[in-house]
C-alpha cells in the first residue's frame, strides 16, 4: 500500500503488511505523532531534499565522523550512513523502555556480583552451572574481587526492537564496551544543522547530557580515600574503529584520553605521564576488551593495556568501568535466563520482554532448532557486530545443512530465536531519490553508579539499509537515525 500523499519524496514508499510501520497506520495515513513531520518533509521537492541530504553528509564529514575503507592506495574515508528522517518515541512508550532498561541493568549488576561471589543463583538452580563454567567471558581472576561501590556494568547498551504486535522486545544486552552513543549526539547535531526549522514543531528531550551523567557515574565509583578523583578514558588508539567515540567522550567529560603507553603502575597505583610528571589516576573508563587490559594477567601479547593494572584494580586503588568479566552476563545464553534473573534478584516482573530463545545446549530445544533452522535466526552466543548470524528463511538447503553441522559441533555456542519482524520506518534511499520502508532497532544507553541511574533519552536507532534486511549493525552496512523522545 502506498501512503496517502501527493508528496513527491514519498512517491515510491511501498508499505508492506506484516510489519509494524512506525509512521503510517494501516490506512496509509501518517500517525498523529508523525503527521507534522511527514508534511514538513513532504513539502520538499526531490532536488531540495537531495541538497539537504548532502548538507547533512558534509556535516558528518567535517566533524570527522568517518570510518576508513582500506584497500586502495589512499585510505578513503566514508561517513557512517545517516538518515535525515527521525524516529519519534512518545513519552509513555519511553517510560516503559527507560524503566525496563534500568531494571535489566540493576538485575545484571546483582547477577555479576553473585557469580563472582556466592553463586547463590546457581546453588538455587535458577541458572545452570555449565553456563558459567563454559563461558569464555567468565574471568576467574574476578572471583572475590569487590569493585568500588559494587558496580560492574556502569554502562549498558540494550538493543530493543518493536515487533509486529507493537510491543518492545529486548534483543540483547551489551555490557562490555557498548558503542554508538557518540553517533546519537552527532545525528542530532547533523539534523539540527540541516533542518533547523523542524525542531520548533516538537518538544524533544536533549541528548547532549550523556557525558555529564557519565562523568557523575564515574566520579561516584571512585576508590575509597580519594577526594576528587582523576578520571580518564582509555582507548586502544586512533586506528580503532570506535576512536571517534572514545575521543568524543573524553572531550565531553573534559578528561584525558589515554593509551596504555601513557600510563604506568607503581606500588599498585596507576599514574599517567604528563608534561609536569606523573599524575595518579583513580577511575578508568576503559574501551579496551578484557583480555587486553593487562598483559600480566590476561593476554601476555597485548600491547594495548597496562602491565599491573589488574593488580591495582584488585587492591581497590583504581576503578575500571565497566568491570572486567562483565561479558559473562551479556552472553546470549545468559540472555535466555533474564526473566528468571530479574525475578530472582529484584522480585519483579520483567518490564521489557525477552524474545523467545532456544538454547542449543538443552536437548529438547536443540532438537527443535535442528528441525526448524529455516524458521529461526541462529546466533553464536559470543560474537558481536552481527557476525555469524544466519537467518533461516534466507538460506538455501545446503546452507541449512551447514548451519546444522555447525550447531552440532558446539551446541553451547548457539542460540536460536524466531525470525522477528522488526518494525519499519521510512528511510531515504539515495539511489532511488525517495523514501522506502526499512527495518530498525534501538540501542539505549543506561548508566549505573553509586546511588545514581540514568538512561539517555534518545538512543541510537539503527537502520538496515538494504531492502528486507534484518541486520542493522553498522559493521554490516547499517545506518542510523536521530531518535526523538518527546516530552510529556
Amino acid at each position: 500500500m502506498k501512503p496517502n500523499t501527493e508528496h513527491q519524496i514519498f512517491s515510491s514508499y511501498n508499505k508492506k503488511d506484516g510489519f509494524f510501520d512506525e509512521v503510517f497506520n494501516s490506512n496509509g495515513d501518517a500517525k498523529s505523532i508523525y503527521k507534522k513531520l511527514f508534511d514538513l518533509y513532504g513539502d520538499h521537492s526531490v532536488a531540495e531534499y537531495v541538497q539537504l541530504n548532502n548538507k547533512a553528509k558534509a556535516s558528518f564529514f567535517n566533524q570527522g565522523i568517518t570510518f576508513q575503507v582500506y584497500g586502495e592506495k589512499e585510505a578513503k574515508e566514508k561517513i557512517f550512513p545517516f538518515d535525515l528522517f527521525p524516529r519519534i518515541i512518545d513519552a509513555d512508550e519511553w517510560n516503559t523502555i527507560e524503566a525496563g532498561s534500568i531494571q535489566r541493568s540493576r538485575a545484571l549488576n546483582l547477577f555479576l556480583w553473585d557469580v563472582y561471589h556466592d553463586k547463590k543463583i546457581i546453588k538455587d538452580k535458577i541458572v545452570p552451572l555449565e553456563l558459567l563454567s563454559s563461558s569464555s567471558n567468565y574471568l576467574h581472576q574476578m572471583i572475590g574481587v569487590d569493585p568500588p561501590n559494587g558496580i560492574y556494568n556502569h554502562v549498558s547498551g540494550i538493543d530493543i526492537i518493536k515487533h509486529a504486535d507493537g510491543n518492545y522486545y529486548v534483543l540483547e544486552d551489551n555490557i562490555r564496551c557498548p558503542s554508538g552513543v557518540s553517533y546519537v549526539i552527532c545525528n542530532r547535531t547533523a539534523l539540527k544543522r540541516a533542518l533547523f526549522g523542524v525542531f520548533n514543531h516538537y518538544q524533544a528531550h536533549t541528548v547532549t547530557n550523556y557525558a555529564e551523567n557519565l562523568m557523575e557515574i564515574l566520579e561516584s565509583v571512585k576508590p575509597q580515600g580519594v577526594d576528587i578523583p582523576t578520571c580518564v578514558v582509555i582507548t586502544p588508539g586512533m586506528y580503532n574503529s570506535a576512536y571517534y567515540e572514545h575521543s568524543y567522550l573524553a572531550k565531553a567529560m573534559g578528561v584525558e584520553l589515554v593509551e596504555g603507553r601513557d600510563l604506568f603502575v607503581e606500588n599498585d597505583f596507576v599514574y599517567m605521564k604528563t608534561i609536569n610528571g606523573p599524575k595518579k589516576v583513580d577511575v578508568i573508563y576503559r574501551r579496551i576488551d578484557d583480555l587486553f587490559i593487562d598483559p600480566l594477567e590476561f593476554n601476555p601479547d597485548s600491547t594495548l593495556g597496562l602491565p599491573g593494572l589488574f593488580s591495582a584494580y584488585r587492591k581497590g586503588n583504581v576503578c575500571l568501568a565497566n568491570a572486567p568479566g562483565t561479558g559473562v552476563a551479556d552472553d546470549k545464553a545468559i540472555y535466555t535466563y533474564m526473566p528468571e534473573i530479574i525475578k530472582y534478584y529484584l522480585d519483579e516482573e520483567p518490564i521489557l520482554s525477552n524474545v523467545k530463545t532456544y538454547h542449543c545446549s538443552r536437548q529438547n530445544e536443540l532438537k527443535y532448532v535442528l528441525e526448524n533452522v529455516d524458521k529461526l535466526v541462529v546466533k553464536p552466543v559470543d560474537e558481536a557486530g552481527g557476525y555469524g548470524i544466519s537467518i533461516g528463511n534466507k538460506l538455501t538447503k545446503n546452507e541449512i545443512e551447514e548451519v546444522k553441522k555447525r550447531i552440532l559441533k558446539d551446541p553451547r555456542k548457539y542460540v536460536a530465536q524466531p525470525i522477528l519482524s522488526l518494525s519499519v520506518h521510512p528511510t531515504y534511499i539515495e539511489d532511488k531519490n525517495s523514501f522506502e520502508q526499512r527495518h530498525i532497532d534501538l540501542r539505549t544507553f543506561t548508566l549505573l553508579g553509586k546511588d545514581k541511574e540514568f538512561v539517555l533519552k534518545g538512543g541510537l536507532t539503527r537502520v538496515a539499509l538494504q531492502e528486507g534486511n534484518l541486520i542493522v549493525n553498522s559493521s554490516q552496512g547499517g545506518g542510523s537515525k536521530d531518535t526523538w523522545v518527546l516530552k510529556k
Partner: protein, 315 residues
C-alpha cells in the same frame, strides 16, 4: 596534559605553519617571476629550483632541466614526497586526531575541512591552472586554523605548546626563506650599486612573508638587503620576524616552566639566552656573514626543539 599528546600538538602547530609558508612561497615566487625585472628571475627553471631549495631539496646539478608540472605536483600533492603540502596537512590532522579530546570541536572541524579540500584537489587542475587557487586556499585555511587556536582554545598549557610549535616553525621557515632568497639574490643580481643588495629578490622575500607593505610603510624606500633583513629578523613589531617569534616562544615557554628561576640548560634558559642575543644584535652583524648567521640560528632553534622534547615530551 599527557606528554605524548603534548608532543603531537607541538608538531601539529609546526605543520600548520610549515604548510602555510611553503604555499605562500610557491605562490609569491611563481607569480612575481612572471613579470620579474630580469630574465633570470623570469626563468621558470630559476623559480622551480628556488622552490625546491626552500623545502630542503636543492638541485645541485645546474644542467638539470626541471619539469614544471612535476615540481608543482611534488610540492603540492605528491603523497610520496615528505615535504609536500599534502603530507604536511595529513600530519596536521593525524596529530590533531590524537589530541582530539583536548582541542575544540571548531578547531578540529576546520582542520578536517582543510584536509578534505587538499585530499580532493585534482592534481591535474593544480599543475595546469590551479596553483593560485590552491596556494591561496592553503594559506587562508592555515589562517583559519590559527584563528581557531587563538579564539577557541583555553590559553593554557595546550595553547602554549601549540603556539611554541607555530613560533619555532615560523622562525625556522622565515630563516629558510631568507636563505633561499639570499641564494636567489646571489644569482639574480640587481643592476646598480651593490648588485646583491639591490636585487629585486628582496622584495619578493618580503612578499613571501606578507611583510612587503608594512616594510614600505616603515622604511619608505625600496627594499634592499639591509633593510629587509633588519625588518624580517630584528624588528619585534613585524609579526613574522624572527625576533617576534622569539618573544612569543619565551612567553609560551613560561607557561610550561613554572620554576622561579630558569634551571640550567632548561628550555626556558636556552630560549631566554637566544632572545637576549637577538635583542642586542645589529643588522650589520648579520649582513657581514648571512650564511653563517643562518646556520647558527637554525642550529639554535633545533637545539631548543630538541631540549623541549627531553623536558616535556619524554614518555
Amino acid at each position: 596534559m599527557l606528554a605524548r599528546v603534548a608532543n603531537n600538538l607541538f608538531w601539529m602547530g609546526r605543520y600548520i605553519e610549515r604548510s602555510e609558508h611553503i604555499a605562500r612561497f610557491m605562490n609569491v615566487n611563481y607569480f612575481s617571476s612572471l613579470d620579474a625585472p630580469n630574465t633570470l628571475s623570469q626563468s621558470r627553471q630559476f623559480v622551480l629550483k628556488s622552490m625546491l631549495f626552500m623545502v630542503g631539496r636543492p638541485v645541485s646539478n645546474d644542467e638539470l632541466i626541471l619539469n614544471e608540472e612535476q615540481v608543482i605536483y611534488d610540492l603540492g600533492l605528491n603523497s610520496d614526497k615528505p615535504y609536500s603540502i599534502l603530507n604536511n596537512i595529513k600530519a596536521i590532522r593525524e596529530n590533531a586526531n590524537s589530541a582530539r579530546d583536548l582541542i575544540s570541536t571548531e578547531l578540529y572541524e576546520a582542520i578536517n575541512k582543510f584536509y578534505h579540500f587538499i585530499l580532493n584537489y585534482e592534481s591535474d587542475v593544480l599543475v595546469k591552472r590551479g596553483l593560485y587557487d590552491f596556494t591561496v586556499n592553503v594559506t587562508e585555511s592555515s589562517s583559519i586554523l590559527r584563528n581557531k587556536i587563538r579564539g577557541t582554545l583555553l590559553h593554557d598549557q595546550v595553547y602554549a605548546i601549540i603556539m611554541l610549535g607555530i613560533n619555532i616553525e615560523r622562525a625556522t621557515q622565515i630563516i629558510r626563506i631568507i636563505n633561499t632568497k639570499y641564494n636567489d639574490a646571489l644569482n639574480a643580481q640587481g643592476s646598480y650599486g651593490n648588485k646583491i643588495a639591490h636585487s629585486s629578490e628582496w622584495s619578493t622575500l618580503l612578499k613571501c612573508a606578507e611583510a612587503y607593505d608594512m616594510m614600505r610603510r616603515l622604511y619608505k624606500k625600496t627594499p634592499a638587503s639591509v633593510t629587509t633583513l633588519e625588518f624580517l629578523v630584528l624588528n619585534a613589531d613585524c609579526p613574522r620576524s624572527v625576533m617576534n617569534s622569539l618573544n612569543q616562544i619565551c612567553s609560551h615557554v613560561q607557561v610550561l616552566d613554572q620554576s622561579k628561576y630558569p634551571v640550567k640548560n632548561s628550555t626556558s634558559c636556552l630560549v631566554g639566552k637566544l632572545r637576549s642575543k637577538f635583542s642586542f644584535m645589529q643588522v650589520e652583524e648579520i649582513e657581514k656573514d648571512i650564511k653563517g648567521f643562518i646556520d647558527q640560528i637554525l642550529d639554535d632553534l633545533f637545539k631548543i626543539s630538541e631540549r623541549m622534547e627531553q623536558e616535556f615530551f619524554n614518555y
